[in-house]
Symmetry: C2
C-alpha cells in the first residue's frame, strides 16, 4: 500500500532530500508513496518541477504573487493555497499517513499543531515546533493516535538508540555537537567573526540559519529543548558533548551501564529515510562509514566561554513559558542582521541575553501569546540595533 505523504517545506534542504529518498525507495521497488501535498515559500520554479514529477493534489506557496506564477506553470487541477492558511490546509488534509514538516522557523509550529490528530505520523524536521510550542504540541498529542518521529540527525539517532530500551530505563541522552567552524578559533576572534567564517561548517552541508546556529551553538541549545519535549525527559537527563568528527550522531546512556549510539555519515538522507520507513529499515546505497578510514573519534566538553549562547538558550528552555519563543525569534532576527553584516557574531549571544532581559514573560502561553512574543522579540532585536545597543562598529 502506497503511503500518503505531505511535505511542508518541499523546496528546502530537507524537503528536496525527502523527495530524493522517496523516489529512490520507489525506484528500488521497496516502498511506494503517494505525494498528496507540497508546500513551500517562494521557490516557485522548483515547486513547479516537483508538482510535475510527484503530482500532488494540493500545494501551497507564500503569497498570491507566487500563486499566480505557479498557476501558469502547472495543471489547473492542482489546488494552490497561500501563506499560513495554505500550510494549515496541507497539514490537515486528513488522509495523510505522514506529514513531513521541513519548514524552517516559527512558521512550522502551526502546521505541526494542525497535523496532530489528522496525520498518523509527523516527521519533524522543524525544531521550532517543539522549541517554541513544546507544551502546546505535547498537550495536543495526549490521547491522540498521531506520533512524532524526529528527522534531525541527533534526535533521530536518539530515537534509534531508544529502540534498544524503554524511556524509564534512560539515564541520560547525550547529544553530540560538531563544535562548528569556531571549534579551534582563538576565543577573542569569535565575537568579531562575519558570515564568511560562520558559514564554513566542517561536516554538514545545511541551510544558512542552521549553519550560523551551529557556529554559535544556539542550534544545540534548541536541540536540547527539542529533546526535552520529544523524549519527555527532564533537562538534568540531557547532556551535550562536542564531537568534532560528527560520526556518532548521538547516544543514550542506559541505567544499566550500556550506552547505545547511532553512527554514520553526515548525510541527512539516512535519518530522513529511517523516519519515512520506521519501524522498517530499507536498503539504500548511500555512503557507509568505514570506521578504519576515520582518523579517530574525539569528545570534548562544550566550553561555555566559546559558546556563550548555548547556556542562554538552554536556560530559556528550563525557565520555560514563552522564553524559548523569545530566544528563537530573536535568534532568527539576529542571524538575518548578521548575514546582512549589520551585526557581528558576538552580538548574537549578546542580543539573545538582552532580549530575554527585556521580556515580560508569560508562564503558560497560548499560541496567540507565542505569536506575539515571537514578533516582539524580532522587533526588539531591530530596536536594540537601531538604538545602538547592539552591533555598531
Amino acid at each position: 500500500m502506497a503511503k500518503d505523504v505531505v511535505i511542508l517545506g518541499s523546496t528546502g534542504s530537507i524537503g528536496t532530500q525527502t523527495l530524493e529518498v522517496l523516489s529512490s525507495l520507489e525506484n528500488s521497488g521497496q516502498e511506494s508513496f503517494n505525494v498528496l501535498g507540497l508546500g513551500c515559500g517562494t521557490n516557485v520554479e522548483l515547486l513547479a518541477s516537483q508538482v510535475k514529477k510527484f503530482h500532488p493534489k494540493v500545494v501551497s506557496v507564500k503569497s498570491n504573487k507566487e500563486r499566480e506564477i505557479l498557476s501558469r506553470k502547472i495543471s489547473r487541477e492542482v489546488e494552490i493555497g497561500t501563506g499560513r492558511e495554505g500550510l494549515d490546509r496541507l497539514a490537515s488534509l486528513g488522509q495523510a499517513d505522514k506529514v513531513i514538516n521541513a519548514l524552517v522557523g516559527f512558521v512550522g509550529l502551526e502546521p505541526t499543531l494542525k497535523a496532530i490528530g489528522n496525520a498518523d505520523e509527523i516527521l519533524l524536521a522543524n525544531k521550532e515546533s517543539l522549541v517554541v510550542g513544546g507544551s502546546l504540541v505535547d498537550e495536543k498529542l495526549q490521547g491522540c493516535k498521531t506520533s512524532v518521529i524526529p528527522v534531525d540527525s541527533e534526535h533521530n539517532a536518539i530515537f534509534q538508540a531508544l529502540q534498544a530500551g524503554e524511556k524509564e530505563e534512560v539515564e541520560e541522552l547525550i547529544i553530540t555537537a560538531s563544535g562548528g567552524p569556531f571549534l579551534s578559533t582563538p576565543l577573542e576572534a569569535i565575537p568579531e567573526a562575519g558570515p564568511e567564517e560562520a558559514l564554513d561548517h566542517p561536516n554538514w552541508d545545511m541551510g544558512s540559519r542552521i549553519t550560523c546556529d551551529s557556529a554559535s551553538m544556539v542550534n544545540k541549545g534548541l536541540e536540547v529543548i527539542e529533546a526535552h519535549w520529544l523524549f519527555g525527559l527532564p533537562y538534568e537527563q540531557i547532556d551535550t558533548v562536542v564531537h568534532p568528527q560528527s560520526v556518532v550522531h548521538s547516544l543514550v546512556q542506559y541505567r544499566d551501564g550500556s550506552m547505545v549510539a547511532e553512527l554514520g555519515e553526515p548525510d541527512m538522507k539516512v535519518p530522513i529515510q529511517y523516519a519515512l520507513t520506521y519501524p522498517k529499515r530499507l536498503k539504500n546505497d548511500y555512503e557507509r562509514t568505514n570506521l578504519v578510514n576515520l582518523a579517530r573519534l574525539e569528545f570534548k566538553d562544550l566550553d561555555p566561554e566559546r559558546y556563550p549562547a548555548f547556556e542562554i538558550v538552554v536556560q530559556a528552555g528550563k525557565d520555560g513559558g514563552d522564553r524559548p519563543t523569545a530566544v528563537n525569534g530573536a535568534d532568527e532576527a539576529l542571524i538575518d542582521l548578521f548575514l546582512d553584516k549589520k551585526i557581528k557574531f558576538g552580538d548574537i549571544a549578546r542580543g539573545l541575553k538582552q532580549v530575554l532581559k527585556n521580556l515580560n514573560p508569560t508562564e503558560n502561553p497560548t499560541l496567540e501569546n507565542l505569536k506575539q512574543t515571537d514578533k516582539w522579540a524580532r522587533k526588539k532585536v531591530n530596536q536594540l540595533v537601531n538604538e545602538g545597543k547592539l552591533g555598531g562598529r
Copy 2:
C-alpha cells in the same frame, strides 16, 4: 516472581561476576533470583561459600575427590553431582528460567545442548558451544521455546544493537577487537613471546586462556564463528575491526546506512546484567563511560601478518564440519603448552595450521564425532611437539 537460575562455571570469572550482579540486583530490590544450581570444577572452597550464600539444591564438581571435600563443608540436603553427568543434570533440571553457561572450553557444549528445551533462556558465555557445536545447537533450537542470549561483551553489544532493527535489515555485524598486548609489538618479536607478554592484556581482566587467545586473535576468530551461529548470518556479513580502546563493544551496520553500537566500560558485569534481565534494563552503579575523558577512539584494520591465527580460525569456521572443533581443541592444548613454556607464541598459529592439515575432516559431525575430533586435536598437538615438529628452542 523470583527467577530460577542455574550457573555452570560458578567459580570462574564470569560465574563469580554473575553471582555478584545477581546479589546486587536483589539488594537493590529490583529483581529476585532463586539459585537452583551451581557447577564448577575444582574450586571447592569457593563453591562451598557460594552454597552457603545462595542455597542451591543441586551442585556439581569435577570428580569424587572434590565431592568428598565439599560434602564435609555443606549441608547434606544439597545434591552433589560430578563430572559431565553432574553438569548435564544441572543444565536439565527443567525448572530453570535461565541457565548461565560460563564454562570454559569444549566441556560447555553438552550442557548447552541439555539446557535446550529445559530452560527458557541460555545465557551463553561459553563460546565453544557455538564454535564447536553450532550446527547441533542450531538444529536443537529449531521449534523450541529456549532462546540463547549472549553474555560475551561483543555479542551482547550486537544483541543490544539488534534491538534497533530486524535481522534481515542487517548489512554487516562489526566485531571490535582490542588488538591485545601485541598491537604495537614489533612483528618479528611476536612469535618469540612468552606467557608474561601474552598475559598482559591492556583493557580487560579475564581468564588466562581467553587472554592468550586475545593476543593471538584466535579469540576473535572464534567470536566470528560464534556470531555466525548466534545471529544466523553468513560469514561475508561479519567483519572485525581493531579498536584498541575497547569502548565500542561492537556495531551493527544496517542496510539503511545507520550504524548502531553499544559502548561502555570494559566491565563484564554490564553484559551479564543485561543478559540476566533482558529485555529489561535495571539500574546499577557500575562505572559509566565519560566520553570526554577518553583521549580518542581509533579503529584499524586487523593485520593478518600480526595475527596469522585469526584467518586460520575463521577459515575453519567457513569450511565447517569438525574443523572448528579441531581448531578449538588444538588451541586449548597449544595454550596449555604455551603457558607451560613448552612452546613459543608463534607456535600457536603454526600448530593450528598443522593440526588442520592433518585433520581428516567430517562434514556433518555428530556430538560423538566432535568429541573424538576434540581429543584427536589435543593429542595431535602434543604429538607434534614431541616429534619436534612444533616448539623446540
